[in-house]
């Protein structure tokens, strides 16, 4: 083709020039150029570069040594300790752990908060004595195992330890632990009543919806009011309602006392 010929001519001319230059250079200069490595610049045209740019296929076996290019400069940074990267999994945000269902959770872990009844153990023991099953003993153990491990049982154990120990540090720790258990139990009972109220409300609404009414969601204030109502009912049943109301009145009065004026105000007309 016509376009390639001028290029070829140019290349040939350059080669001729380089050859002439080399012939003129002294031997010393040639030696110096060779050992410096500057002769490599002139070899770019004729260097037969093997194309190693294609990505090498991954090694056959992961136990084989890693293969890498020896032409690319590598940085100085190196990992000091070769530790495997730790993957942190938070079960709250992990999709594999599933969604949290409060009702299911509460029904499953109910045993933690149940106060055990000695009669139940007696009943189970009687059943054990009657049956002739070889596995009966293990079944009996299983059925009362929750009574030994749950929170009220733990509290009793800690109370006994508290009575025995002398060390103030240990006493402090045990007291805080018992405190924590009591807090758990109290909050759990509160949650239980709330859940019961909500469930009742839902049932009512469902019945009404069947009849055609629009279902309503129970608001927080309504829930609180219902809670108070239930509390009053309980207190009335046990007869402590008066004491409760009296205590409440006294507390509120003490709080309001600070707003009482202690000097006469001069707004009223003085009797002359």
């Amino acid at each position: 083709m016509n376009t390639s010929r001028p290029l070829l001519n140019m290349w040939e001319e350059e080669e001729e020039e380089i050859k002439r230059e080399l012939a003129d250079a002294t031997f010393e200069e040639l030696q110096r150029a060779l050992s410096d490595g500057s002769h490599l610049e002139y070899r770019k045209h004729s260097l037969n570069k093997k194309h190693h740019e294609e990505k090498k296929p991954g090694r056959a076996n992961k136990n084989r040594p890693m293969e890498a290019s020896s032409k690319k400069p590598v940085g100085r940074f190196r990992e000091v300790v070769q530790a495997p990267k730790r993957v942190i999994r938070d079960p709250r945000f992990e999709s594999l752990c599933g969604a949290f269902d409060a009702k299911q959770f509460r029904s499953k872990y109910n045993f933690l908060f149940k106060k055990y009844d000695p009669d139940i153990i007696e009943k189970e023991r009687k059943k054990l004595d009657k049956s002739k099953d070889p596995d009966a003993i293990s079944r009996f153990q299983n059925s009362i195992s929750w009574m030994r491990g749950n929170l009220p049982a733990e509290r009793e154990k800690l109370r006994k330890q508290l009575a025995k120990s002398n060390n103030p540090e240990v006493i402090g720790e045990l007291k805080s632990h018992i405190n924590w258990i009591e807090k758990q139990l109290k909050s759990e009972s509160g949650q239980r009543t709330d859940a019961a109220i909500l469930a009742e409300h839902k049932k009512k609404e469902r019945e009404a919806a069947k009849k055609g009414k629009q279902p309503f969601y129970l608001s927080k204030s309504a829930l609180r009011k219902q809670r108070l109502v239930e509390k009053y009912e309980d207190l009335k049943a046990s007869g402590k309602l008066d004491a409760f109301i009296e205590k409440r009145r006294r507390k509120n009065a003490a709080k309001d006392h600070r707003y009482m004026p202690y000097r006469r105000s001069n707004n009223h007309a003085q009797p002359n």
Binding site: Q31, R32, L34, S35, D36, G37, H39, K50, H52, K56, N61, N63, R64, P65, M66, E67, A68, S69, S70, K71, K72, P73, V74, G75, R76, F77, R78, V81, Q82
Partner: protein, 403 residues
């Protein structure tokens, strides 16, 4: 009759060829006899400063050694008669290609860290702290050329067997390839992330290097690639080829590892190969750790801690007798250990311990397996992490008795 002799000659030549190329291994290790009480290393040549490198010529007649003050000696193995290599003047060096030192250094630092001699015995290459590689003619003991190009002290050199190709590794993390015959620089190989400490090359164009970045790399020069072997968490000090696919290395926790090209971790490890025994109490100088005013330095620990991971346990040099299964390793704990490399079970079996006081900075086996040469010093090769006053700076030789 003629035919039989020819066949015999052909067979011998073929065996030699196979041994040379590394495909067959001579079983020397089993032939080494137990050492008698009178057998010991005898000092062949004395140096003023610790010896950093020794090299033997192919025909086992001449040896070369270099020390920290820059003296290079050429000695005869049998008689011990030595001649020194004189450093040329500053101007001659410059004319041979050396660059002037820049910055705060106003003089060339003559400390030589490594030596290598070519297979035909004509060229001796030396590398040191001045970042140049000096090429000497062995017959006239004259300086031929100085190659410059490395950015840091040249810590290791190796000629490729059968050619005049020279491989150099340096503290600037690169390996450079030179041609001694043509006095030319060929190319640079990258890969290490910290200083390169030892280099080895046999007949093939494959270079084995070991560095402080805890890796051992096998550079395949024609393919422009390298294989990376990772050591279990300590810096590797020295390495050598056992055959084309097996290597030996020594690390700075006193263990020796055997590697194969098929595994990225060592195939076999010998731990505490050069453990320091507690009886060597004379190794510590009198005022260890104290600065002149009598105050104690920050890092001074009692001499008890020096026993475990001190510089005396670092395996400074490891070498293998050419195309055989006999290996030797040296450290500063007072003995050179001989090992047998089993080819079927791929493990390292200890043979004997040869007592030698001092830091064994360099080892070299004779090609025939008749003797072992060790370069000994009062201090380790690359620094002054330990000092052993009772050692003798110089070259020691031990004749192996083969049954």
């Amino acid at each position: 009759m003629q035919g039989e002799r020819d066949a015999l000659v052909a067979r011998i030549l073929q065996e030699e060829q196979l041994e040379e190329t590394g495909r067959v291994r001579r079983a020397i290790a089993s032939r080494v006899q137990k050492l008698e009480s009178a057998d010991e290393f005898r000092v062949l040549v004395k140096h003023r400063q610790p010896v950093t490198a020794v090299a033997l010529s192919e025909d086992d007649s001449k040896g070369f050694s270099a020390s920290k003050d820059g003296t290079i000696l050429q000695w005869d193995v049998v008689s011990g008669i030595h001649e020194s290599y004189r450093w040329p003047s500053h101007d001659v060096l410059r004319s041979h290609g050396a660059k002037d030192p820049q910055g705060p250094a106003t003089r060339h630092c003559k400390r030589v860290l490594t030596l290598a001699v070519s297979s035909d015995g004509r060229y001796l290459a030396s590398g040191g702290v001045d970042r140049h590689i000096h090429l000497w003619d062995t017959r006239t003991r004259e300086h031929i050329r100085a190659f410059q190009g490395h950015g840091g002290p040249v810590s290791c050199l190796s000629f490729r067997q059968g050619t005049s190709e020279l491989f150099s590794g340096s503290f600037d993390r690169t390996v450079k390839i030179w041609n001694a015959e043509d006095r030319a620089y060929i190319t640079t190989l990258f890969g290490h992330q910290n200083e390169i400490l030892t280099i080895d090359c046999h007949r093939k164009e494959r270079v084995l290097t070991v560095g402080r970045d805890r890796t051992m790399q096998l550079f395949k020069v024609p393919e422009e690639s390298r294989l990376v072997f990772r050591a279990p968490a300590f810096s590797l000090e020295c390495c050598c080829f056992v055959s084309n696919d097996e290597f030996l290395s020594g690390s700075d926790d006193g263990s020796i590892e055997l590697w194969s090209t098929l595994r990225k971790k060592p195939v076999d490890i010998v731990k505490n190969a050069h453990a320091l025994l507690g009886a060597n109490k004379n190794l510590e100088p009198k005022n260890s750790g104290k600065i002149p005013n009598g105050h104690i330095e920050n890092g001074d620990c009692g001499s008890e801690s020096y026993r475990c991971l001190s510089a005396y346990s670092w395996v400074n040099s490891v070498t293998v007798c050419r195309s055989s299964d006999l290996a030797a390793s040296g450290a500063g704990n007072g003995s050179v250990r001989l090992w047998a490399i089993e080819s079927e079970t791929k493990d390292i079996r200890p043979l004997f311990d040869l007592p030698l006081v001092g830091f064994v900075n360099s080892l070299a086996f004779a090609k025939s397996g008749q003797f072992l040469v060790a370069g000994v010093g009062k201090e380790p090769r690359l620094g002054r992490w330990g000092h052993n006053e009772s050692a003798q700076n110089g070259v020691a030789v031990y004749s192996l008795k083969l049954s």
